[in-house]
């Protein structure tokens, strides 16, 4: 009898050795889901950060390209021209604007008007009113005659 009891006790799991209950599994899944969901936002944020950085980088490169063109052309030109054009990089289209900013103080300072303030803006074609990047500079023109 005693052997049976012993045997029966040995086969019965102790309180600490019982398997997973449904409740435990459900709670575990729920916790994991919540954690993953929260952390997924980090992944998404990281992706957005990357995408946005790439867009800004492309926009900056386009602006730099425009600045280089200006640097070469302006000294040979009689006047700095304003212009606006589109350029596609990857799957995105950008609008590049070069504008001359009126700068009265410069006119009074430089008597021969061979200096202009120029602004270069690059914006997404889908949101042309919101420039991605804006750069300002003074540019000499009509220098080489």
């Amino acid at each position: 009898m005693a052997r049976k009891v012993t045997s029966s006790l040995r086969n019965t799991p102790s309180l600490n050795e019982r398997g997973l209950t449904v409740l435990e599994v459900v709670i575990a899944i729920a916790v994991l889901t919540i954690t993953t969901a929260i952390l997924m936002r980090f992944f998404v944020a990281g992706d957005r950060l990357y995408s946005k950085s790439v867009v800004v980088k492309n926009a900056t490169h386009l602006a730099q390209n425009e600045a280089e063109i200006l640097k070469v052309e302006a000294p040979l030109s009689e006047e700095i021209e304003e212009r606006e054009y589109e350029k596609e990089v990857g799957k995105r289209s950008y609008i590049i604007r070069r504008s001359v900013v009126a700068q009265d103080s410069l006119d009074s300072l430089i008597n021969e008007f061979t200096l202009r303030e120029v602004r270069i803006q690059v914006s997404d074609q889908l949101k042309p009113e919101e420039p991605l990047v804006t750069f300002r500079m003074l540019q000499g023109y009509h220098i080489i005659q």
Binding site: L49, A67, L106, L109, F135
Partner: protein, 517 residues
């Protein structure tokens, strides 16, 4: 794992494990993305900083241009009683007695007075968004260095620009002469000939800027070189000549050599590449197989570059004469000699080097201590100038500086030329002669590519591609006859003439080279 699954509550460990792994993964991912895109995010600030630095350069150029315009305007005001001829022949060298306008002087001091000045850039200077830009102007002999440094959002960018002056020449024009009349003689001229207006009283300010030579600036340059020489000569005892025969010894040459300096590569090659300035209170002689790069020499005595010496990107100032002879080569360099310049035998001046005979001292001075006859500017005193002028040009009292045949006998020791290209010398560069009533002489077997610029006469017997600018072309047999143009040699057009640069005080400042850091 099996053990874990068989225990009550073990699922929490799994959850914890997965959660930790997920958090770590997310952190690594986000951090990676952040770091990866960090450089992208810096790009706009870098570019704006660069544009600010460029802004400084353009602004500085505009200020220099304005300064030049002001100078021309001031000179025009003072030219009312100056004859056409004297203005062409550089009487402006002798305007020391004229009182200078104090405001102009103050402005000049403010902008360019010292060796390095800061120009403030409006409107960026105090703009909190765009950051400050500092501009520095360095004087380095015939050229100036304009340096603009910008700091914007921790991004520091620098633009360094070398300023010279672009020749005003047109590609199809080969002769610019002050004396009217087509050149006579057996020479061949393949290109157009332009005759300069005798008066600079032109309405076209651009023309004035192109032809304007700023002798004040030249004086400043010479003065900046000469003053330390005179000061050092007064304070130092005359030393024995210093002879250098090894490359290692070159690095030990002191900044001031109290005697002559001989760099001798006769026994073994001597190579000296160093960015530094060396003052030599006696003569400098470079002989044998010597190669020198980037060194600036300020020399009181003669400079002799002989044998197979090669000087690359060096700057030379000599208060006396400059000689290049044998098979020596001077590459991409700049030199100012107060006395005569002689390039002879098989010497070569290459890679658009600029050599000037400033004609400010009468030459052949071996020590600054012997230069007591110079005025404060390091230039000949007024009396000496007049004496020199009278000797050089007896007919000066007349308005026209032409030489009458009869006056030849009365000359004591007249030197029609101060810059010589002789024998089989080759020149690819700009040779400028600024002596009052001096000239440039080229021999028959010389080959010249570039520019010959003389205030007075040029006697061209050799072969040339490029441009000659002179008051008159003279015959080699009659150098004092300046009443007509005469050419013995040949000259043809050079399509790449705009690649040659004049010193910055020859008209409007132009960018020679542009470097961004």
């Amino acid at each position: 794992m099996k053990l874990l699954l068989n225990k009550k509550g073990s699922v929490y460990y799994i959850v914890l494990l997965f959660a930790v792994v997920t958090v770590i993964s997310a952190s690594i991912y986000v951090t990676g993305q952040f770091n990866f895109t960090k450089s992208f995010r810096k790009d706009p600030a870098k570019l704006q900083s660069l544009l600010n630095a460029r802004t400084g350069i353009w602004y500085g150029l505009a200020l220099l241009d304005k300064q030049l315009s002001n100078k021309i305007a001031k000179q025009q005001e003072g030219l009312a009683d100056t004859t056409d001829k004297s203005s062409l022949f550089g009487e402006d060298l002798f305007d020391d007695e004229k009182p200078r306008d104090s405001s102009t002087q103050d402005e000049a001091v403010q902008l360019l007075g010292s060796d390095m000045d800061t120009l403030e850039v409006y409107p960026f200077k105090n703009d909190s968004v765009f950051g400050p830009v500092n501009i520095f102007l360095h004087h380095t002999g015939n050229f100036r260095i304009l340096e603009s440094t910008s700091l914007f959002k921790r991004q520091r960018r620098k633009v360094i620009v070398k300023l010279g002056s672009r020749p005003f020449f047109y590609p199809d024009t080969v002769l610019y002469l002050g004396t009217p009349g087509m050149p006579e003689g057996e020479g061949d001229v393949d290109g157009r000939i332009a005759f300069l207006q005798k008066s600079i009283d032109e309405s076209d300010s651009l023309q004035q800027k192109r032809f304007h030579v700023d002798f004040d600036e030249l004086r400043t340059i010479v003065n900046n070189y000469r003053q330390p020489l005179v000061a050092l000569g007064d304070s130092m005892e005359l030393e024995e000549p210093l002879t250098v025969q090894y490359s290692d010894e070159c690095l030990q040459i002191p900044d001031t050599v109290g005697g002559a300096l001989f760099i001798d590569g006769s026994y073994r090659d001597v190579i000296w590449k160093e960015k530094r300035k060396v003052y030599v209170l006696e003569e400098l002689q470079v002989t044998g197989e010597v190669r020198i790069e980037n060194v600036t020499f300020v020399v009181a005595g003669d400079v002799k570059i002989l044998d197979q010496a090669v000087l690359n990107s060096v700057e030379i100032f000599t208060a006396s004469r400059l000689f290049c002879a044998n098979e020596s080569k001077v590459l991409a360099s700049s030199a100012i000699a107060c006395g005569d310049v002689e390039i002879y035998e098989e010497a070569q001046i290459l890679e658009k080097s600029v050599i000037i005979s400033a004609g400010l001292s009468g030459g052949n001075r071996t020590s600054p201590k012997t230069q007591g006859d110079l005025d404060e500017d390091g230039l000949p005193s007024q009396e000496q100038k007049k004496k020199q002028l009278d000797e050089d040009h007896p007919s000066r009292e007349q308005d026209v500086p032409t030489q009458k045949k009869g006056t030849k006998k009365s000359r004591k020791k007249s030197k029609p030329y101060s810059l010589f290209v002789r024998d089989q010398a080759i020149v690819d560069g700009v040779l400028i002669e600024l002596r009052e009533l001096g000239g440039i002489k080229t021999d028959m077997e010389t080959v010249i590519k570039g520019v010959l610029w003389s205030r007075a006469r040029v006697c061209h017997v050799g072969r040339m591609a490029g441009v000659i600018k002179a008051f008159v072309l003279v015959d080699q047999t009659e150098p004092m006859n300046v009443s007509r143009n005469y050419i013995n040699g040949t000259i043809k057009r050079l399509s790449s003439i705009d690649e040659y640069f004049m010193p910055y005080y020859f008209g409007k400042s132009t960018i020679v080279s542009w470097q961004e850091k």
